[in-house]
C-alpha cells in the first residue's frame, strides 16, 4: 500500500516535471525541470530495487548531461534570460506525430516484444558484480564499441571547436 502511494507520487512528479520541460518559456528553467525529471526517474529505479541504475541515472543524467546542457545554454549568447515561446505553427502536427509514435512504441514494447521472463523475487546479492563481469565478459564487444564511439565523438568535438591557425 505504502509502496503504491509512493509510486504514484513519484510518477506524477516525473510526468509533471517532464511536461514543464516542454512548456516553460525560459530555456534555463526548462533545463532545471529536466533535472527534476531525471531525479524522478531515478526514484522509479529505486522503487524497482535497481540501486545501481538509480545511482548511475543520477550520476550521468543529472551530474553530466544536464550540466552540459545548462552550460551550453549559458554559453550561447542571449539565451539566458530571454523568454522564448515553445510553441510555433508546427506545434499541433508535432504533438500529433509524437502521440502516434508514443502509442506505436508502447504497443511494440509491451505487446509485440517477447521479453525473456525472469522469475520474480528479490534482487540477487551480487547483482553489481554480475553486471560488471557481464560488461567485460559476455558483452565486451558492444561495451568497447560504445567506448570507441564516445572517443570518436570526443575527438570530433575537439576538431570542430579548435581554434584555426590564421
Amino acid at each position: 500500500m505504502v509502496m503504491r502511494v509512493v509510486f504514484v507520487v513519484v510518477s506524477l512528479f516525473t510526468l509533471v516535471m517532464a511536461f514543464m520541460v516542454v512548456s516553460h518559456p525560459t530555456l534555463f528553467s526548462s533545463a532545471l525541470y529536466l533535472v527534476a525529471t531525471f531525479l524522478g526517474v531515478a526514484g522509479l529505479y529505486v522503487l524497482l530495487e535497481a540501486d545501481f541504475l538509480a545511482v548511475v541515472q543520477v550520476m550521468i543524467y543529472v551530474g553530466a548531461v544536464s550540466i552540459l546542457i545548462i552550460f551550453a545554454i549559458m554559453l550561447s549568447r542571449g539565451m539566458m534570460g530571454k523568454r522564448t515561446s515553445s510553441h510555433n505553427r508546427q506545434a499541433k502536427w508535432v504533438a500529433l506525430a509524437s502521440l502516434l509514435l508514443a502509442i506505436l512504441l508502447l504497443y511494440f514494447i509491451t505487446v509485440l516484444m517477447r521479453w525473456p521472463a525472469v522469475q520474480a523475487g528479490p534482487v540477487p546479492a551480487g547483482a553489481i558484480q554480475m553486471l560488471g563481469q557481464d560488461l567485460v565478459g559476455r558483452y565486451v564487444v558492444p561495451f568497447e564499441v560504445a567506448s570507441v564511439l564516445l572517443l570518436v565523438a570526443l575527438v570530433g568535438a575537439i576538431v570542430l571547436a579548435r581554434e584555426r591557425e590564421i
Binding site: F28, F52, V55, M59, A64, I67, I70, M74, E163
Partner: protein
C-alpha cells in the same frame, strides 16, 4: 545493550520500543528518524568546531591571534557568528529568478548531507552500508555542482555567473581524476561498499602504504573539489568578489558556508576511509566504540593538512588550474588504474601484490614529479590567445 559495541544499540532500541506495542514499521521509522537527526546534528556541531579551528590555525600560521574574544580561546566565536547570520535580513535581488534563487542553497546542503549516509564511523556503524557506496558518493556530490550553477544563474549578477561557469569547469575537470582514484581503491578492495573497503585494510595494510600515489591524487583533487587554495578560483575575492554566492546574505549564505565546511569534513573522512584505514586501529575490532576515536583522529589529521595548505599557498591562475587537471592529473590517474588492474590480474601472493603496487606507485610519483620539474625549468607559457572572429 553493550555500550562498548554501538552495533547492539539498534536491536536493543527496536526491542524496547517494540515492547511498547508499536508495529515494526513505526519502530523502524522512529529509529531511522533518530539516526538521521543525530547524523545531521553531529555534522553541524563539528562544523562549528572546524570553523573555529580553521580560523585559529590560519591565524597562527600568519602570525596573528585569531578569534579570542568570545569564550575561552574564542571557542564560542562561531556560535556568535552563526546567530548573527541567522538573524540578518533576508534579501532577494529584485531581478533574481526567485524559485531557483531560493532552492539553490537548500540543494547545496542537501547534496552534502546525502553523502553522509555512507560514512563508516565504526565497525558496523554507518547510516546505510550501500553496496554501491562509492558510486553513490560521486552521484550525489554532482548535485552540488547543480546547486552552484543555479545560484550563479538565478542571482542575475555577472560575477555570480562567472563563478558558476568556473564551478562547472573546475569541479567537472577534477571529478575525473578523483573518480579514477576511487576506482583504484575499489579495484584493490574488490567492493564499492565503504564498510568492505575499510574491511580490506585489515592488519595495518592501509591503502596509504599500498598506493601512496593514488592517495596524493585523491588529496589534490579533494582540495580542488572543496574549492580550497590553491584551487579557490570559484570565489577568488580579488577577481569575482565571492563567486556564485555573491548575492546571498543571512541564512541563505549560511547554507553555502555550511556546505563548504561540510564538504571539507566529508572529503577528509573519505580520505581517511579509503586510505587511512577508516575506523581501524589497535583493539578497534574487540572494542568497536574505539572505532569512532580512530575515525575522528584520522579525519582531523586530513582536515589539518587541508587547512595547512589553505593557510600557506597562493592561488593558481585559471589556465594553470585547467591544464594541471587535464594534462597531469587525468593521465596519471588513468595510468594508475591500468597499473593497479594489471597487477591484480597477475594473481600474485598478497605480499608480492602489495610490494609491486607500492613500487609502481612510487615510480609513478617520481616520473610525474620529474615531468613537472622539467616543465617548470622550461617555464610554463601562458597559452597564446588568438581570438578568431
Amino acid at each position: 545493550m553493550n555500550l562498548l559495541d554501538p552495533q547492539t544499540i539498534a536491536p536493543w532500541f527496536i526491542k524496547v520500543v517494540g515492547s511498547l506495542g508499536l508495529s515494526a514499521f513505526w519502530t523502524q521509522l522512529i529509529w531511522d528518524v533518530i539516526g538521521s537527526v543525530s547524523l545531521v546534528l553531529f555534522a553541524i556541531v563539528s562544523i562549528l568546531f572546524i570553523v573555529w579551528l580553521e580560523r585559529k590555525f590560519a591565524a597562527r600560521v600568519q602570525d596573528r591571534l585569531g578569534p579570542n574574544r568570545v569564550g575561552p580561546y574564542g571557542l564560542l566565536q562561531t556560535i556568535a557568528d552563526t546567530i548573527k547570520l541567522l538573524t540578518k535580513e533576508d534579501i532577494t535581488p529584485a531581478t533574481a529568478d526567485r524559485v531557483s534563487y531560493n532552492i539553490a542553497p537548500i540543494l547545496a546542503v542537501f547534496s552534502v548531507f546525502m553523502v553522509m549516509v555512507v560514512i563508516p564511523f565504526a565497525k558496523g556503524v554507518s547510516g546505510a552500508d550501500l553496496n554501491v557506496g562509492v558510486l553513490y558518493i560521486t552521484a550525489v556530490s554532482s548535485l552540488g555542482i547543480m546547486a552552484a550553477l543555479m545560484a550563479g544563474w538565478s542571482s542575475d549578477n555577472k560575477y555570480a555567473l562567472i563563478g558558476g561557469f568556473r564551478v562547472v569547469a573546475q569541479l567537472l575537470s577534477y571529478e575525473v581524476p578523483m573518480v579514477m582514484a576511487m576506482v583504484s581503491v575499489v579495484l584493490v578492495s574488490g567492493s564499492m561498499s565503504l564498510q568492505k573497503i575499510v574491511g580490506a585494510q585489515a592488519g595495518g595494510r592501509w591503502f596509504f602504504w599500498v598506493m601512496p600515489a593514488v592517495f596524493l591524487l585523491y588529496l589534490t583533487t579533494a582540495l580542488a573539489e572543496n574549492e580550497r587554495t590553491p584551487f579557490d578560483l570559484l570565489e577568488a575575492d580579488s577577481e569575482i568578489v565571492a563567486g556564485y554566492h555573491i548575492e546571498y546574505g543571512g541564512i541563505k549564505f549560511a547554507w553555502f558556508f555550511l556546505t563548504f565546511f561540510l564538504n571539507t569534513l566529508f572529503l577528509a573522512s573519505f580520505a581517511a576511509t579509503f586510505f587511512l584505514g577508516g575506523w581501524r586501529g589497535p583493539f578497534a575490532e574487540q572494542v568497536p566504540i574505539l572505532g569512532f576515536v580512530y575515525y575522528f583522529l584520522k579525519t582531523t589529521l586530513v582536515i589539518f593538512f587541508m587547512m595547512w595548505v589553505r593557510a600557506t599557498w597562493p592561488r593558481l591562475r585559471i589556465d594553470q588550474m585547467m591544464s594541471f587537471a587535464w594534462k597531469v592529473l587525468v593521465p596519471t590517474s588513468l595510468v594508475l588504474v591500468m597499473i593497479t588492474a594489471i597487477i591484480l590480474k597477475l594473481g600474485l601472493s598478497p605480499f608480492w601484490e602489495t610490494g609491486l603496487l607500492l613500487i609502481s606507485n612510487l615510480a609513478v610519483i617520481l616520473v610525474v614529479l620529474g615531468f613537472l620539474g622539467r616543465a617548470l625549468r622550461l617555464g610554463i607559457e601562458r597559452p597564446k590567445r588568438r581570438v578568431v572572429a
